[in-house]
C-alpha cells in the first residue's frame, strides 16, 4: 500500500555506481562527490542575521531595504571556485526536483526566511577591520536568525474563525503563523518578489492539474490547512457498487461489475460488512496465516487511495479474502450458492463515482496580506517556531526555512499543456538557462546539458543590503564542469584546475592524513546490507533460498561481517563502521544539544548504547556491568567501545542453528537439499566494484558455511538488470541482497525515521512484508506525568511506532497513547526508539554496516572558515569560505609547483 507520507528522508543506495542516477539522493558511493562536490562541507548559502542586530522574536529591519552600513568592508581576496560533477542537474524546479544532482544549482539560487549561524562570543561577529571574528566562535553553539523575513508571529488566536481553530488550539498556539517579508526581495532580473508571489507559488505547487512531486512537503509535513484536499481535489471518489440499504429495503445489485472497473477497499468501512473493514476483520477476528496472506495479496495491489482494482487475475484472490472476512459473521462461503456469493462479493466492491469536490483556493491555509507584505499560514499541526521569549527556535529554519517561490512570468511561460488524452500539466521551469530565475546569492549564467554550468553573484540579492553578510561570499563565480572519469578529476585537482576532490580508494593511501582533507560527520547516511526474508516469496522462487527467512541465518550473516574490514576494502576513507540503524548525526534534542552531556545525539544516549549492546548479544548483570564474548564486567561505555559487531564464533553457532532449523523442516522453507542455494545480489550497475562487493560477501558466506552441511552450497548471483529500479527489485524479492542500501535525512527527528525500518506502511521501508502490526513488544514506561507513565504495556511494534510519533489515533491503532514530541518525556521516547532499533537489529533484515564519514579535499586556493565541523554550519560553507589565492595568484602558485600539487596535498601539517 502506498502511503503518501513525506519525510525529509530519502532512501539511498550506497554501493551502486549511480553515475547517472536519478533516484538516489545523498548517495554514498565512490561517485557521489559528483553530486556537486562543492557541497561537501559547504552549507546551502543561507543568509543570517548577526545576533547583535536581531531583536528577540522580532523585527530586525522592518522596512527591509538598504541598511545603514556599520561593518567596514574588509580587504578580502575573491576568486572563482572550480568544481566538477559526475552527473549534471536537469531539473532544479523546487516543485519537482528529484535528487542531489538537481539541488546542485538550487542550493545557490534560493534564499531562506530564517537560517542558522555560528554563535560568536559576546555576539561579536566582526572584528574592527570588518573581518569575521573567527576566534570568537563558541564551539557547538548556534544562533537562529531572520533573513528574507523580518518578523514571525504566532497568529493562531487572531486569524479568521473560518480556519476553525478551537479555543484549546488558540490557547496552545503554534498553528497559524504570519511571516513579514523584507521589502527588497528581488529576482535576478530585478523583478520584485512580494508576499503575493509566495501565495501564487504555493497555489501553483498545489495545483491538482500539475500534481507536483514536492507538494507533499506542504500538505503532509507542514500540513497547511486544506492543502491536501486541494491538491487531491481531482482524486477519485469510491462509491459502493451496492448502494447502502436499510433492513427492510431490497439491495440494488444491478451494477455490472464485468464491464465496469471495480475496486476492493480493504480498509474501507463503507461496505456492508457491519461497518467493519476487511483488514480489521482479518486481523482481529480471523487471524489465521492463510487469511493474513490472502489480505496481503489484495492489499499489496492497492493504489494510493487504498483501493485495489479487481480484474481477472486477482478476482479469485478477492473472493478468497472475502470468504475469510465473512467467517466472523458465521458465514461459510463455500456453503453459499453462486448467486449469494455474487451478491456478497458485489457488496464488498466499489467503483469510481466521480472526482473530488473542488476545494476553493480561499480555503487553503495560506494567504498574502499585500499591504503588510506578509504571508499567513494556517496549519493543521502546531509548531514551536518561536521560543517562549519570542526568539526563533531551532525549528524555524529547520522546518520552515522558506516557502517555494517561482518567477511568475517565467513559470507561466514554462507551462506545458497536457498532451491529447492526458490530464496533467507539466512545466519546464528551472530546467535551462532561459527558464531559470534566482533570488539567492548566485544566479545561473551558463548551462549546457551534459557539459557544464556557471553561477555568478546575483547583484539583486537582498542579502547584499544586510550587514550580516558583509565580507562573506567571496567566491565570485562557481564553475562546474561535468567530468565522469575519476582519473581526470583527480589530475585536475592536482594541477589546480579544480578546487575540490573526494577521498577515494584510488588516493586514500597517500592522502588520508592530508591537511587538505575534511572529514564530515554530520551526514545522516547510514547504510548496510538488506536481506530479503519473506518466506512466501522465497520458497516460491526457483532459488531454493528459503533459509533467508530464518532469523538465525541472517543473524549469523550479520555477525560474520567485519565492518572495519568492509570499510577498509570497500569504502576506504569515505565511511566509518556503524552498528545502529541511525548514526551519530541524529539528534534527539537538537535545541539543547550544546548543553547536554551526550550532545543531544541519539547514538550517544545511554539507552541507545544499551539497546545496541543487547542487540549484539551483550548481557547486563544486576550490577549494571556488561558481558559479551570474552569480555565481562564492562561499563556501558567500555562495552560500547569494544563493540565490533564481528563475532565469527557466535556466527558459526548461529549458522548451525539455522541449518538445523532448515533441515528439520525443509518443506516449510521450500528447501531442496540436492540443489544449491542461490541468493541474488542486486545492483544498479554492473561494475568491477559492485562485483567485488558481491564476491566479498560470497567469501563471507563460504567461511560461514565451511564445515557445515551447507559448505559450498550457497551461491551469490550478481544481478544488475534492475538498473535504477534497484529498490523495487529488492522490495519485490527479485533480488535478495541489497548491499549498501540505507537511508539518510531527517537528522533532528530519529523518532520518525525509524519508521522506515519498523513500519510496513512506510513507503521507504525495504521490508514491507515484515508484519510488525502483528508482533508484540512489551515495555515498562518510565515514571512521569504523562499517559501510560509507569505502566508495563504490550502492543504491536507498529503501534509503538505510531504512539512514539503521536499518530496512533490518526492511524486507528489499538492503543492510542500520544507520545509525540512534547507529550512524553524525552527519556521515555528514547527508550521506545532504542527498543525499536534493538528489535530491528536482532531481526537482521537490515544489517547496518557503515555511516557516511566521507573525506573530501578542499584545494589550497581556498580554506574553510573553521576546522571544526558544526552541526548546522558544517565547516562554514561557501558563505564563509576564505580565499587564499586570487585567480591570478593561484595560476602563479600552481606554475611554481610545476603544475603538480600532489606534494603540497600530501602534507599533513
Amino acid at each position: 500500500m502506498f502511503k503518501n507520507k513525506m519525510k525529509k528522508v530519502l532512501s539511498v543506495v550506497l554501493a551502486l555506481t549511480m553515475v547517472f542516477s536519478m533516484a538516489a539522493c545523498g548517495g554514498k558511493d565512490e561517485n557521489d562527490e559528483g553530486k556537486g562536490s562543492i557541497a561537501s562541507g559547504i552549507q546551502t548559502p543561507a543568509p543570517t542575521t548577526a545576533p547583535t542586530t536581531a531583536p528577540v522574536g522580532g523585527d530586525e529591519n522592518p522596512s527591509g531595504g538598504e541598511e545603514q552600513p556599520t561593518i567596514k568592508p574588509a580587504e578580502i581576496k575573491q576568486a572563482e571556485y572550480n568544481t566538477t560533477t559526475s552527473v549534471m542537474p536537469s531539473n532544479w524546479n523546487e516543485f519537482t526536483y528529484a535528487d542531489n544532482n538537481d539541488t546542485q544549482i538550487m542550493n545557490y539560487i534560493g534564499s531562506s526566511f530564517f537560517d542558522y549561524d555560528y554563535k560568536f562570543e559576546n555576539d561579536q561577529k566582526f572584528n574592527a577591520d570588518g573581518s569575521i571574528n573567527k576566534d570568537g566562535i563558541v564551539p557547538g553553539a548556534y544562533t537562529t536568525n531572520y533573513s528574507a523575513a523580518t518578523k514571525l508571529e504566532d497568529v493562531t488566536s487572531s486569524v479568521d474563525a473560518k480556519w476553525g481553530y478551537t479555543d484549546a488550539q488558540k490557547a496552545e498556539g503554534g498553528y497559524a503563523w504570519k511571516i513579514t517579508l523584507r521589502d527588497d526581495l528581488k529576482w535576478d532580473d530585478g523583478t520584485p518578489i512580494t508576499a503575493a508571489d509566495f501565495e501564487y507559488s504555493m497555489k501553483e505547487l498545489l495545483d491538482p492539474t500539475f500534481m507536483n512531486f514536492r507538494a507533499n512537503t506542504y500538505y503532509d509535513t507542514l500540513m497547511i490547512k486544506n492543502s491536501k484536499a486541494y491538491f487531491f481535489s481531482k482524486s477519485p471518489i469510491y462509491a459502493p457498487v451496492v448502494p447502502a440499504y436499510g433492513a427492510d429495503e431490497t439491495p440494488d445489485y444491478s451494477f455490472d461489475i464485468t464491464s465496469n472497473e471495480v475496486y476492493l477497499g480493504v480498509d474501507s468501512t463503507e461496505m456492508t460488512l457491519a461497518g467493519y473493514a476487511i483488514t480489521d476483520l482479518i486481523t482481529n477476528y480471523v487471524g489465521t496465516a492463510e487469511a493474513t496472506a490472502a489480505l496481503a495479496v489484495i492489499a499489496d495491489e492497492a493504489n494510493e487511495f487504498g483501493y485495489t482494482l479487481i480484474n481477472a487475475e486477482n478476482m479469485q484472490a478477492a473472493k478468497d479474502l472475502l470468504a475469510y472476512a465473512l467467517m466472523p459473521f458465521g458465514i461459510d462461503w463455500a456453503g453459499l450458492d453462486a448467486e449469494t456469493q455474487d451478491a456478497y462479493f458485489k457488496e464488498a466492491l466499489f467503483y469510481v463515482s466521480g472526482y473530488g469536490q473542488e476545494v476553493k483556493w480561499e480555503d487553503v491555509g495560506i494567504y498574502a496580506i499585500p499591504e503588510e507584505n506578509a504571508i499567513v499560514l494556517c496549519l493543521d499541526k502546531a509548531y514551536s517556531f518561536l521560543k517562549e521569549d519570542g526568539s526563533l527556535s531551532v525549528w524555524a529554519p529547520y522546518y520552515f526555512s522558506s516557502l517555494p517561490v517561482v518567477h511568475k512570468a517565467k513559470y507561466e511561460a514554462s507551462k506545458i499543456a497536457p498532451a491529447a488524452g492526458a490530464t496533467l500539466w507539466t512545466s519546464n521551469y528551472n530546467s535551462s538557462l532561459e527558464t531559470t530565475a534566482s533570488w539567492g546569492p548566485y544566479k545561473l549564467v551558463e548551462f549546457e546539458a551534459g557539459s557544464h554550468y556557471k553561477l555568478v553573484k546575483n547583484e539583486n540579492w537582498y542579502g547584499w543590503n544586510m550587514e550580516q553578510y558583509k565580507n562573506q561570499y567571496n567566491i565570485t563565480a562557481i564553475n562546474c564542469r561535468k567530468v565522469e572519469e575519476f582519473s581526470t578529476k583527480w589530475m585536475g585537482f592536482l594541477n589546480g584546475s579544480y578546487d575540490d576532490a573526494s577521498l577515494q580508494t584510488e588516493n586514500v593511501a597517500d592522502y588520508l592524513d592530508s591537511k587538505y582533507v575534511y572529514f564530515t560527520s554530520t551526514s545522516t547516511g547510514t547504510f548496510g546490507m538488506q536481506l530479503y526474508s519473506d518466506l512466501n516469496t522465497l520458497k516460491n522462487s526457483e532459488n531454493n533460498n528459503g533459509i533467508l527467512a530464518i532469523q538465525e541465518f541472517r543473524h549469523a550473516f550479520n555477525l560474520a561481517l567485519n565492518r572495519s574490514d568492509i570499510v577498509e576494502k570497500i569504502w576506504p576513507g569515505s565511511a566509518v563502521p556503524c552498528f545502529g540503524l541511525l548514526n551519530v548525526a541524529y539528534y534527539y534534542d537538537i535545541e539543547n544539544s550544546p548543553e547536554l552531556e551526550d550532545g543531544g545525539q541519539y547514538r550517544n544516549a545511554v539507552v541507545a548504547k544499551e539497546g545496541i549492546l543487547r542487540a549484539y548479544g551483550f548481557t547486563q548483570d544486576a550490577n549494571g556491568k556488561w558481558s559479551g564474548g570474552d569480555l565481562s564486567g564492562l561499563s556501558t561505555e567500555d562495552a560500547y567501545d569494544s563493540l565490533t559487531g564481528y563475532n565469527p564464533t557466535l556466527a558459526k553457532q548461529k549458522m548451525q542453528e539455522a541449518i538445523d532449523i532448515l533441515l528439520a523442516d525443509p518443506e516449510k522453507y521450500g528447501y531442496d537439499a540436492n540443489k544449491d542455494i542461490t541468493i541474488v545480489y542486486g545492483s544498479s550497475s554492473d561494475t568491477d566494484k559492485q562485483r567485488f562487493r558481491c564476491s566479498y560477501l560470497q567469501e563471507v558466506l563460504d567461511g560461514l558455511t565451511k564445515g557445515t552441511a551447507l559448505e559450498g552450497k550457497i551461491k551469490l548471483v550478481f544481478d544488475a538488470s534492475a538498473g535504477n529500479q534497484w529498490a523495487e527489485a529488492f522490495r519485490t524479492g527479485k533480488t535478495q541482497i541489497g548491499f549498501g542500501y540505507g537511508f539518510s535525512g531527517n537528522a533532528f527527528n530519529p523518532f520518525d525515521i525509524v519508521g522506515a525500518f519498523v513500519n510496513p506502511e512506510d513507503s521507504l521501508n525495504y521490508h514491507m512484508y515484515w508484519d510488525t502490526a502483528n508482533i508484540d513488544m512489551t515495555l515498562t514506561m518510565p515514571a512521569g506525568d504523562y499517559a501510560g507513565a509507569g505502566e508495563t504495556i504490550t502492543m504491536s511494534i507498529q503501534n509503538w511506532y505510531y504512539c512514539l510519533n503521536g499518530l496512533a489515533e490518526t492511524e486507528g491503532q489499538a492503543k492510542t497513547y500520544n507520545w509525540g514530541e512534547g507529550f512524553a518525556p524525552v527519556e521515555a521516547r528514547l527508550m521506545i526508539l532504542s527498543a525499536l532499533e534493538e528489535v530491528t537489529i536482532k531481526e537482521s533484515r537490515s544489517v547496518m554496516l557503515i555511516a557516511d564519514g566521507g573525506g573530501s579535499f578542499l584545494g589550497a586556493k581556498f580554506a574553510y572558515f573553521s576546522e571544526d565541523e558544526h552541526t548546522f554550519m558544517g565547516f562554514g560553507g561557501l558563505r564563509y569560505m576564505e580565499v587564499m589565492y586570487t585567480d591570478a595568484e593561484w595560476a602563479d602558485f600552481v606554475a611554481a609547483n610545476g603544475n603538480d600539487l600532489s606534494k603540497e596535498y600530501m602534507k599533513s601539517e
Partner: protein
C-alpha cells in the same frame, strides 16, 4: 548508367533494411517493461500521469500487482503513431529516465552532442591519415631497413597497447605533467577557435594513434606488394622516375584496399568513443547510446539506434561505391 542503377538499388535496399531493423527494435523495446523513475515517497501514478501529460505515453492504467501499464493498443498501432509523430512534427520524444536529460527534447540533445564528436573525428582523420599513410609508404619504400624496423615497432606498440592506456598516458604526460593542453575539452560553443582546437588535441591523438598504426600497417603491406608488381617494372622502363612510378601507379593501386578502410573508420568513429569522451570530458554522443540502454530510455534508444543503423548501412554503400572511383576497372552492377 549501370552505376546509377546500382546506387539506386543499394539505396532502396538500404532503406528497406533500415526499416526492418528500426521496426524490429521498436517492437522488441515495446515488449520490455515500462521504465520509470519513481523516487522514494513518490506516487508511481503521478509519475505515469506526468509522462502521459508530456505526451510520451498514452492510456495509462494500473495493472495487476500494482504495475502501471500504458499504450494498451497494438504495438504496430503505437509504431504508426510514433512514425507519424516523427514525420509530421519531427518529434522524437523526450528523455524519461536518463536523469541528466530528463524531459529534454532528445533530438536537440543529440544534435547538440554531435558537433564535438564529428569534429574530433574529422581532426583525427585529417591528422591520422597522412601520418599513417606516410609512415606506411616510408616503411614500404625502406622495407627491411632500419626505418622500416622502427616504424614496425611503433606500429606494433600502438596496436597492442589498448586505446584507454594510450589516452591515459597522453593525458598524464601532455596535459598533467607538461601542461601543454588542458585536461578536458573546452566548454566553449565556438568550436573553431584555437582554444577549443588546442583542448581537443589530446583527444584527437588518443583517437587517431590506433588508426595511424592501422593505416601504416595496411599501406606498408599493400604498397610492398604493389611495388614488386611487374607493372611497376614496366613503369620504370618506360622512363618514369621511382617517385613518379610510386605516386602515379603504386599508390593508386594500393589505395583500392586502404581508402575504403579509411572511409569505414571515419564513418564508424562518428558514433563517438565512449572512453575517450569520458576521459577528456567531451560532450559528445559516445556515452549517449550506452546510457540510453542502461537507463532504459526508450525514445533516446530508438533515435540513437536509428542513427547508428543508418551510419552503418551508409558506410557499407559508400565503401562499395568508393571502389569504383579509386579503381576504374571496378564497376559494380554492370552486367
Amino acid at each position: 548508367m549501370y552505376m546509377f542503377k546500382y546506387v539506386m538499388k543499394r539505396l532502396g535496399l538500404m532503406i528497406c533494411t533500415f526499416f526492418i531493423i528500426f521496426t524490429m527494435v521498436y517492437v522488441l523495446i515495446k515488449l520490455l517493461p515500462i521504465p520509470t523513475n519513481v523516487l522514494p515517497g513518490q506516487d508511481p501514478e503521478i509519475v505515469m500521469r506526468t509522462l502521459e501529460g508530456r505526451g510520451w505515453i498514452t492510456n495509462i492504467r494500473e495493472g495487476a500487482n500494482g504495475v502501471w501499464e500504458y499504450d494498451r493498443v497494438p504495438i504496430l498501432l503505437q509504431y504508426g503513431t510514433y512514425l507519424k509523430r516523427i514525420v509530421t512534427s519531427g518529434d522524437f520524444g523526450i528523455a524519461t529516465t536518463y536523469g541528466e536529460y530528463l524531459n529534454m527534447n532528445i533530438w536537440k540533445v543529440f544534435i547538440n552532442h554531435l558537433p564535438p564528436t564529428i569534429l574530433i573525428n574529422i581532426y583525427s582523420t585529417i591528422i591520422g591519415v597522412p601520418i599513417g599513410l606516410g609512415l606506411g609508404i616510408l616503411a614500404a619504400l625502406k622495407k627491411n631497413k632500419w626505418q622500416d624496423q622502427v616504424i614496425n615497432v611503433v606500429i606494433i606498440l600502438l596496436i597492442s597497447v589498448p586505446n584507454i592506456v594510450l589516452a591515459l598516458m597522453l593525458q598524464y604526460v601532455f596535459c598533467f605533467k607538461l601542461g601543454w593542453f588542458p585536461l578536458t575539452m573546452s566548454t566553449s560553443d565556438d568550436y573553431f577557435t584555437w582554444e577549443v582546437f588546442r583542448s581537443m588535441i589530446p583527444a584527437v591523438f588518443a583517437l587517431c594513434l590506433g588508426s595511424i598504426a592501422g593505416y601504416a600497417r595496411s599501406t606498408r603491406a599493400e604498397l610492398s606488394e604493389v611495388l614488386t608488381g611487374e607493372f611497376m617494372l614496366l613503369a620504370r622502363t618506360k622512363g618514369l622516375t621511382k617517385r613518379q612510378a610510386v605516386l602515379r601507379h603504386a599508390m593508386r593501386n594500393s589505395m583500392v584496399v586502404i581508402f575504403p578502410a579509411i572511409l569505414g573508420e571515419f564513418v564508424g568513429v562518428l558514433s563517438g568513443s565512449l572512453i575517450i569522451e569520458k576521459m577528456f570530458a567531451i560532450n559528445g554522443v559516445g556515452g549517449l547510446y550506452l546510457n540510453s540502454i542502461i537507463f532504459q530510455d526508450y525514445d533516446f534508444f530508438m533515435l540513437l539506434s536509428a542513427f547508428y543503423t543508418l551510419i552503418g548501412l551508409t558506410a557499407g554503400i559508400v565503401i562499395d561505391i568508393s571502389y569504383g572511383f579509386i579503381d576504374p576497372r571496378i564497376r559494380m552492377g554492370a552486367k
